[in-house]
């Protein structure tokens, strides 16, 4: 199991961080619901666009208008195809959400195992 899977949700803020960072969940700020809906769509989109390649959950960061999607991929595809998928994701999501979307990838040879059950 990866680190993310090995820790149940009550460890968030103790041993885990948040997978999605935005200002909507702060006190007195609006937009939490919209960000949550966007997050769920983005995760599904990433899961489908990179089939079998996601080594771990997708981390979403929002800096102002910019949406940064940090994904951990395995090295099953040659880079040219990954480039295409990256470009496809970025342009499609930018047009869809009307905000700049950036993909930051990291590849690992295998899924990083934290512990075995």
């Amino acid at each position: 199991m990866t680190y993310e899977q090995a820790h149940p949700p009550h460890y968030i803020a103790h041993r885990k961080g948040w997978l999605s960072l935005h200002t909507g969940n702060l006190h007195g700020e609006a937009g939490a619901a919209e960000r949550a809906v966007e997050d769920s769509f983005l995760r599904r989109f990433m899961y489908g666009t990179f089939p079998g390649l996601l080594a771990d959950e997708v981390v979403l960061k929002r800096r102002g208008n910019l949406l940064v999607i940090c994904a951990l991929l395995s090295r099953a595809l040659p880079p040219s195809k990954i480039y295409f998928l990256v470009g496809y994701t970025e342009t499609l999501l930018s047009h869809f959400y009307k905000c700049p979307v950036r993909l930051e990838l990291q590849t690992v040879p295998a899924r990083v195992v934290y512990k075995y059950l």
């Binding site: 680190y3 991929l73 090295r75």
Partner: protein
């Protein structure tokens, strides 16, 4: 049904279909290389982590199923748009992705271990080995950039802007996470926790110095005549406060941004005694006695500029109204007074009465009220009573009152 459950069977079916049919040349995942499970021991670049139990070890070590043959031989099963682009069997070297505009069927693997976007600075410098036919998959991994970093390099070119943590670009041996029992925190490669947190690697002091140097051209000097707070207040007595809100999301609108706060000291306004008292009565809670500051907060208009104009309008109206005297203001009674006034009060009447009776009992000639009022003992008494009423009871006030009463009634000790 929740969204996940609805789509789960579709994903599983797609995966099953993929695994059953010969791998499509577009997606040709070699079980040896990718997938969710693991890679061959030769390619294992992850530092030894937790030891898998025996059952899993057997699965990992065993040879994966041979990648299905897709090539010129499988032309019959290739999708139609592929059939025209057969690759000559004798070709050994394949050009890099720059020449990869024609899609080539890739059977076998030339693995590219470094991520396309990880070492963004060096670009896709894939050392492309010869394309092997099915079977052997050499892992020519590009070493991470950290191994070629000088100690005195320019860090602001590694992280020029805010970016996620890239383990291949940060030459620090960082570990993050809760360790397993009798273990160490997980290393930085593939560490999602390090990616989750916001990092400030792009804001080292030299980088900030560069930012400041670049911004200096757009800045103007502070006016030298305004070098103290008093001068600022003297020239700009009205302070306007507005707040701008920054949030993440596609909308920049925030309804809280329309609030405007105006602050002014009443000593800076041209008010006489009556005007000041009337203004203070008009504004009520917005005036602070200790600091002599009038605060007006406006948010009833939808735009900030409208609220600012409304605030200035309120200030103007208050100022002009406080200078006017209405007819009914002459009906101001003692309860409306803000401070204690001794003239025409009960205390004055009592004191005068007492003194007159004393004088009458001593059979002194009729002393007039004005003389009595002007006399020193009465003035002392007046001051002490005013102090007591306006400032409250303090040690000094009480002793002063005592002395004045003793003098008034001519009591010695």
């Amino acid at each position: 049904m929740p969204f996940e459950m609805r789509f789960e069977p579709i994903f599983r079916a797609a995966a099953a279909v993929r695994s059953r049919s010969p791998p499509d040349p577009w997606y040709s995942p070699s079980p040896r290389n990718g997938g969710a499970r693991g890679s061959s021991p030769r390619a294992q670049r992850v530092p030894p982590g937790p030891v898998p139990p025996r059952s899993v070890r057997a699965e990992l070590a065993g040879p994966g199923p041979a990648p299905a043959a897709v090539g010129p031989g499988g032309a019959a099963r290739r999708p139609p748009w592929r059939r025209g682009l057969a690759v000559l069997p004798g070709r050994a070297v394949v050009r890099g992705p720059a020449g990869g505009s024609q899609p080539r069927p890739r059977w076998g693997r030339a693995a590219y271990s470094s991520a396309p976007a990880v070492s963004g600075k060096e670009g896709p410098q894939q050392r492309e080995a010869s394309v092997r036919r099915r079977g052997r998959t050499p892992q020519f991994a590009v070493p991470p950039r950290t191994e070629r970093m000088a100690v005195d390099q320019d860090w602001s070119s590694v992280y020029p802007t805010a970016a996620a943590f890239k383990p291949a670009s940060v030459p620090l041996p960082i570990r993050m996470g809760y360790p397993v029992k009798r273990g160490v925190p997980p290393p930085k490669e593939g560490n999602l926790e390090l990616i989750k947190i916001p990092n400030f690697l792009h804001l080292t002091p030299p980088a900030i110095k560069k930012h400041c140097a670049a911004l200096k051209d757009f800045c103007t000097e502070w006016p030298s005549a305004l070098d103290s707070d008093e001068k600022c207040e003297q020239h700009f007595p009205i302070e306007t406060e507005t707040v701008d809100y920054v949030s993440s999301g596609t909308s920049i609108r925030n309804p809280k941004a329309r609030v405007v706060t105006l602050r002014v000291k009443l000593s800076n306004l041209n008010l006489d005694d009556h005007a000041k008292k009337k203004l203070v009565k008009l504004v009520g809670e917005r005036y602070c006695r200790e600091t002599d500051v009038l605060t007006i907060v406006t948010d009833r208009c939808p735009l900030r500029r409208q609220n600012y104009d409304y605030g200035m309008h309120l200030l103007t109206v208050l100022y002009h109204e406080s200078w006017k005297t209405e007819k009914w203001e002459s009906e101001k009674s003692e309860e409306d007074m803000e401070e204690y006034i001794w003239e025409n009060s009960r205390s004055q009447k009592n004191a005068l009465d007492t003194l007159l009776r004393i004088k009458a009992s001593e059979n002194v000639s009729n002393v007039s009220k004005e003389e009595l009022l002007g006399s020193e003992v009465v003035t002392n008494y007046r001051n002490s009573v005013i102090a007591l009423k306006n400032e409250g009871e303090t040690e000094s006030n009480m002793s002063q009152y005592k002395e004045s009463v003793k003098k008034l009634l001519n009591i010695q000790a």
